[in-house]
Every structure is written in structure tokens, then in C-alpha cells.
């Protein structure tokens, strides 16, 4: 059987690694994560497809590589509730609420009602000091606040993805990934 042709996008599993390394040294790189938010929605809205999930999602490719190729996954059936619609949409709502809160914090800093907090919040609870990644004055405070918030969202969801990858199938994260749920919803509405 012919081996599949390799495409440039087969190497996109490198993207999340590059992203987290860049953000470790300079938090402003966290803004690049906007690509992962905008592209899937634009493809769903204008293309009526999930090409992002299907082909370009670096996280999905990384989880498939670690869990599949490297066998870091137990490869057991995903827990039933993680696939259930109530959980998928519930998680999307929760994620959106947390995202909204992040925007609110950014607004407060922009309005000078609150000072910049140089921390990365893991799992919406644990505050990790991250001050080395930002030089005061190198950007507006709100730009940095948004970057810290966005990096927190990306790191938290990556961590959740890795945990469910280890416990269940490599791409179990995809069953309740908020972006995936949202884009599938858009595609179904468009069809």
C-alpha cells in the first residue's frame, strides 16, 4: 500500500510546542494563540467545514502523536459523559464564561481600575508566577494582561487535553474541545 504523502500541515504538531516555549520567554507571544481561535471559526463560517480540526489543529496533531505514535495513551474508550451533548455544550459555556472573565480583567487593566497581574492561572485556580516573561513598559498593560490570560487558557486546555489523552484515546480532548463544539454547531446550522 502506498505511503501517505507528507504535507506541510502534518508538521503542525510542532506549533503548540513553539507557542508554549515562546510564551515562556515572552508572554506577548501568547497573542499568536488568536490564530487558533480565529481560523477555525472563519473556516466554519465561510467554508462550512471543520478543516481546522481535521487538518490544521496543532493540538490535535500533537495529541495524536504523543498518544498514538508514542503510545502515551491507555487507548481506552472515552468516558461516556465526555461525549454527551450536555457536557460538550456545558463545557463550551463554561469556557466562554471564563473567556469573558478574562476579557473583563483586560478591560479593568485598560481602564486603570486594576493593575497588571503577571501570573499564569492554571485550571482557573492556581496562580503561577510568570513575571520573567514580561518587561514592564514593553507594551500597554492591558495588552500584557490579555496575553497572560490567553496563555492561561491555552495552557489549561492543553493540560486537560494531555490528561484525557493519557486516560482515554489520544484525541479525547477533541470530543469536548470548545472550538470543536462551536465549529461543528456552526457547520450544522449552515448545512
Amino acid at each position: 500500500m502506498a505511503k501517505k504523502v507528507q504535507h506541510w500541515y502534518d508538521y503542525l504538531w510542532l506549533w503548540p510546542i513553539i507557542y508554549f516555549v515562546l510564551g515562556f520567554f515572552n508572554i506577548l507571544f501568547a497573542w499568536l494563540g488568536m490564530i487558533d481561535f480565529m481560523v477555525p471559526v472563519l473556516l466554519a463560517l465561510f467554508g462550512g467545514n471543520k478543516l481546522f480540526c481535521n487538518r490544521y489543529c496543532g493540538r490535535g496533531l500533537l495529541l495524536a502523536k504523543l498518544g498514538g505514535e508514542w503510545k502515551w495513551s491507555r487507548n481506552r474508550a472515552t468516558q461516556e459523559f465526555l461525549v454527551a451533548k450536555w457536557f460538550r455544550f456545558g463545557f463550551l459555556c463554561f469556557f466562554m464564561a471564563m473567556f469573558g472573565n478574562m476579557l473583563w480583567q483586560t478591560y479593568l487593566v485598560a481602564a486603570q481600575a486594576q493593575s497588571l497581574r503577571e501570573v499564569v492561572t492554571l485550571l482557573w485556580m492556581f496562580k503561577l508566577p510568570w513575571a520573567w516573561a514580561y518587561t514592564a513598559g514593553s507594551s500597554s498593560a492591558w495588552v500584557a494582561q490579555y496575553a497572560f490570560g490567553f496563555y492561561s487558557v491555552m495552557l489549561t486546555s492543553m493540560l486537560l487535553g494531555l490528561v484525557v489523552m493519557a486516560l482515554f484515546k489520544p484525541r479525547t480532548w477533541c470530543t469536548f474541545c470548545p472550538m470543536g463544539t462551536m465549529t461543528q454547531m456552526i457547520c450544522k446550522m449552515k448545512k
Partner: protein, 63 residues
Amino acid sequence: MKRFASVNEDRCVSCGACTQVCQRQAISIYKGCFARVDRERCVGCGICAKTCPAGSIRVATDG
């Protein structure tokens, strides 16, 4: 008796994990909604069913 992959469309999250492992390009995501199997190409090897994180694919037989 022919074996082939059968998709539970309501359960499918259309992540495309199946499309990436299929050696025969017999499965694709239909308009971002669910996976669809090309019965002509599918040989029912079951690799997609093993990969599917949502447990929405099973190998069926006809005849």
C-alpha cells in the same frame, strides 16, 4: 460478506481523527458535521473505529 466502517452521525464530533489514520482515504468529514464512509473504498479494517475518541464508529457487515 463485506466489512465496513459504520458511523453514528449523531455522536460524531467531526474531529477528523479517523480521516488521518485511514490508509485508503475511505472516510471523510461531510461539511464539518460528521464522518462519512465511502463503502467502495472501505475494507473494514477498523483502524478508524479504534482511533475515534467519541466511540462513534463500529465495523459492520452486510449480507
